[in-house]
């Protein structure tokens, strides 16, 4: 009995995050009046939006979210953090190619030409930021996967991970706001607020009050 109760309580701990990073973006999507597109393109767009939203949620699924870590075991949080990281970075990595899907379906601009055009538009700030964010994201993923092969001190790695994330998220949000097909006022607000809160959590942890007490339940 007690065990189940505990488990329920734990799931309950994640509810605000689920609401904020899955339900809210879905709601924003369905309430917005976006131009009609095919089912597959809408599905891909929604997947991209959710993936990005879940990456934003990563700020709150980590040690920086002190309240949560007090209530839920850090190892569980980490498991979710890793899962979301690997899966949804994988999806976000594909999103430039999602955009090219329609180009596979007609005989106009070839997907290759379209791709070259997209990644060589260096005069467009949104695209350059996208490339920056993409690179940062790749480095984040690789350095996470090979963390133990890097022979870095854990703390150094963690700080590196945090700073890189900041670069990633700022560039990515900016990129999403300026270029995103679905970036209306509501989504812009959502990205800015969640991104800013996340960065605030990081600053609180790494700059303002370095936590002296090591958290034991790793």
């Amino acid at each position: 009995m007690g065990l189940v109760m505990k488990k329920e309580r734990k799931i309950y701990q994640y509810l605000p995050l689920v609401l904020a990073f899955i339900v809210l973006p879905l709601l924003l999507w369905f309430l917005s009046d976006f131009p009609e597109r095919s089912l597959q393109m809408n599905a891909l767009s929604l997947l991209t939006i959710l993936a990005f939203s879940l990456l934003l949620a990563q700020f709150f699924l980590s040690r920086t979210n002190r309240d949560m870590v007090k209530k839920v075991k850090m190892s569980n949080v980490l498991k979710i953090h890793k899962f979301i990281g690997y899966v949804f970075i994988g999806i976000i990595m594909l999103h430039p190619f999602f955009i090219l899907v329609p180009k596979f379906l007609d005989d106009a601009v070839s997907p290759k030409d379209a791709f070259i055009r997209v990644i060589t538009s260096f005069d467009n700030i949104g695209l350059v930021l996208g490339l920056v964010a993409y690179s940062a994201m790749l480095v984040i993923m690789i350095t996470s996967f090979f963390r133990f092969k890097l022979h870095m001190k854990y703390r150094t790695w963690r700080t590196f991970h945090a700073y890189l994330t900041t670069i990633f998220i700022v560039a990515a949000i900016w990129h999403a706001i300026t270029l995103g097909r679905h970036s209306n006022g509501a989504f812009t607000l959502f990205y800015v607020i969640t991104g800013a809160s996340g960065i605030f959590f990081l600053i609180r942890m790494y700059v303002l009050k370095p936590s002296k007490k090591p958290i034991k339940n790793v």
Partner: protein, 599 residues
């Protein structure tokens, strides 16, 4: 210009526009357009406009199929070439929408070239120029093979394949330049002038020779992608004394009653298809017979789909020679359908293809109730344009050439005959004109345009921007459409109604053409286009009034029979010494000047 002066001007203009233009402004506002659009409140400082001057041997105006080959072949013949276009290379005029190109392959065809030409002439009832028909067939395969090597058949959009040969030859291309004037000095061409819609610049091109590849045009009708084609080349050539022909013929494409303005939807997914080649298939595709049927029987809605079932339900109307009557009323799958061509059996919607006249489920997007006049104002491809004085695409003005739909070559006559031949003809004529112009340019010393002339031309180009008040080009265009597009004016012609329409058009010409206003460079383009449409409308009415017979796509309700005694002739139009429009006959089968026979 000082800012205070400018401000003073603006407020005065605003006052006049507001006082006088309130109704129009409100109308536009009701369409969701900004109110400011209706005022002539120039968004640019007209007096600060820059001027760029270029010099070349051969200037190619237009960047469709004809322009491409004109530039390439003139360059290969050793001339210094420049290309200038109102739109983009391979993405303006009708070329982007032409999906079938005729290639006469002597090894595969059953007909010899002689037999092919004879068949075209039978369908065209003598109205074709056999020299150009033959030339098209003879060169088509070579041009098609060149296109193939540039990747033309690999994509539904043509800019990339067109750019290949142009870039390889380093031919400068100026896009989004509206050329408004051809310049003639000492009775020969010396260049052209226009303006950029992007930069605040007037452009002067000094050229030993000019090739007009400016396409045909229409009255900006709804449902056919010719919104950028307003016979610009024809009218600027007419203005400097060139002879123009073919204005009485009609392209008779219908549109759809549902969303008639949607060109793309009207043609199904054809605009998205890759182009392909077409072999010999000669028709007598009128299109205007639909207009007659609707005229005679009420409206298409009450008679089902026009063309469906019995074509003889309505008697009379445009005549089709027995040999070319369609055997079946159902949709022709056409021998090319296995080549992935659209099931219409016509490769080229806006270029020589013909609308489906059959119900039968209808080709993609073309089912539903048809409506008339989707290509209103346009004649049969290659029938209207500059009068050629020989088979080298040369006009009566030394140094001025034309190719494709800008040349009244009568390659097909006053009717659509060989499908896909329009795009092929543009390619062939572009090449012929390019070589001829390059050769001509070698015989001419350096050319230059005098400063006085430049000043005059610049003044004319910019006039609509400088007007303090005036008519919006959009309104004048809409009015012209209302006068010209009705079935009983444009397609089913009669003396009294055409005279009535002509009176209206003369009113637009005399009272409105000189008062078109423009607030920005987009408007300035519209103003010049509108002017060209007014002159074209006058030509169309005068030529239609003059041809007192019915033949091919020209149908007179008051002269329904073909009159071989008087009308085995083309009609040429030119500007008289007093500035008025003059018309003359040119017998079929003869070149204009000494009446030399076309062989």
């Amino acid at each position: 210009m000082s800012s205070s002066k400018e401000n003073g001007k603006i407020s005065r203009r605003s006052f006049i526009a507001l006082a006088g233009g309130a109704a129009g402004a409100m109308a536009l506002a009701s369409m969701g357009m900004p109110m400011g659009w209706a005022e002539n409140n120039p968004e640019i400082d007209v007096d600060a406009l820059g001027l760029d001057k270029f010099n070349t041997d051969v200037l190619v105006i237009g960047s469709g199929m004809a322009g491409l080959f004109a530039a390439v072949k003139a360059h290969d013949a050793g001339a210094k070439v420049m290309m200038v276009s109102k739109g983009r290379l391979g993405s303006s005029g009708q070329t982007p929408f032409a999906k079938g190109i005729f290639a006469f392959d002597p090894e595969k065809e059953e007909l010899s070239i002689d037999e092919f030409v004879a068949k075209i002439s039978r369908s065209a009832m003598g109205s074709n120029n056999e020299a150009y028909t033959r030339q098209m067939a003879e060169h088509s395969l070579d041009r098609v093979n060149e296109l193939k090597s540039w990747g033309f058949f690999d994509s539904a959009i043509y800019n990339k394949s067109f750019s290949k040969p142009i870039n390889e030859r380093n031919i400068p291309v100026h896009e989004r330049i509206v050329v408004t004037h051809l310049i003639k000095e000492d009775e020969k061409i010396v260049g052209a002038a226009g303006f950029s819609v992007d930069e605040q610049k007037v452009l002067i091109y000094e050229a030993k020779s000019v090739i007009l590849c400016t396409g045909a045009g229409g009255f900006k009708p709804n449902g056919f992608p010719i919104g950028d084609l307003t016979h610009d080349g024809t009218i600027m050539a007419y203005d400097i004394g060139a002879k123009v022909t073919g204005k009485e013929w009609n392209d008779g494409h219908p549109g759809r009653a549902e969303n008639p303005a949607a060109c793309y939807d009207g043609w199904g997914d054809m605009f998205e298809n890759k182009p392909s080649t077409v072999s010999v298939e000669v028709h007598h595709d009128l299109g205007v017979d639909l207009n007659y049927m609707v005229y005679a029987s009420g409206n298409s809605v009450t008679m089902g789909r026009p063309g469906e079932g019995d074509m003889n339900a309505v008697s009379g109307g445009p005549f089709t020679p027995e040999e070319f009557k369609r055997q079946e009323t159902g949709r022709r799958p056409g021998p090319q359908s296995d080549e992935g061509r659209p099931p219409r059996g016509e490769g080229k919607p806006p270029g020589g293809g013909k609308p489906p006249k059959d119900g039968g489920g209808g080709p993609p997007g073309m089912s539903g109730t048809p409506v008339g006049g989707s290509s209103a104002g346009m004649a049969i491809h290659k029938s209207e344009g500059l009068v050629p004085i020989n088979e080298r695409c040369e006009s009566n003005i030394p140094g001025l050439y034309a190719a494709g739909d800008a040349l009244g070559s009568y390659m097909s006559g006053g009717i659509y005959t060989q499908i896909g031949s329009s795009l092929a003809g543009s390619a062939v004529q572009g090449g012929v004109a390019g070589e001829a112009a390059a050769k001509y340019s070698k015989t001419v010393g350096s050319v230059s345009i005098s400063d006085a002339k430049i000043k005059d031309v610049e003044e004319e180009i910019l006039a609509p921007l400088k007007r303090e008040a005036g008519y919006s080009p959009a309104w004048v265009t809409q009015t012209l459409q209302g006068i010209m597009i009705p079935n009983f004016i444009l397609y089913v012609k009669k003396e009294n109604l055409m005279k009535g329409a002509l009176a209206y058009i003369e009113e637009l010409r005399d009272q409105h053409m000189g008062h078109l206003r423009a607030a920005n460079l987009h408007d300035l383009r519209l103003a010049h286009e509108t002017r060209n449409m007014i002159v074209s409308a006058e030509m169309k009415l005068r030529a239609s009034l003059m041809r007192k017979e019915s033949r091919c796509s020209h149908y007179r309700l008051d002269y329904p029979e073909m009159d071989d005694e008087n009308w085995r002739a083309w009609i040429n139009i030119y500007k008289g010494e007093d500035g008025t429009m003059q018309l003359e006959k040119q017998p079929f089968g003869q070149w204009p000047n000494q009446g030399a026979e076309i062989v």
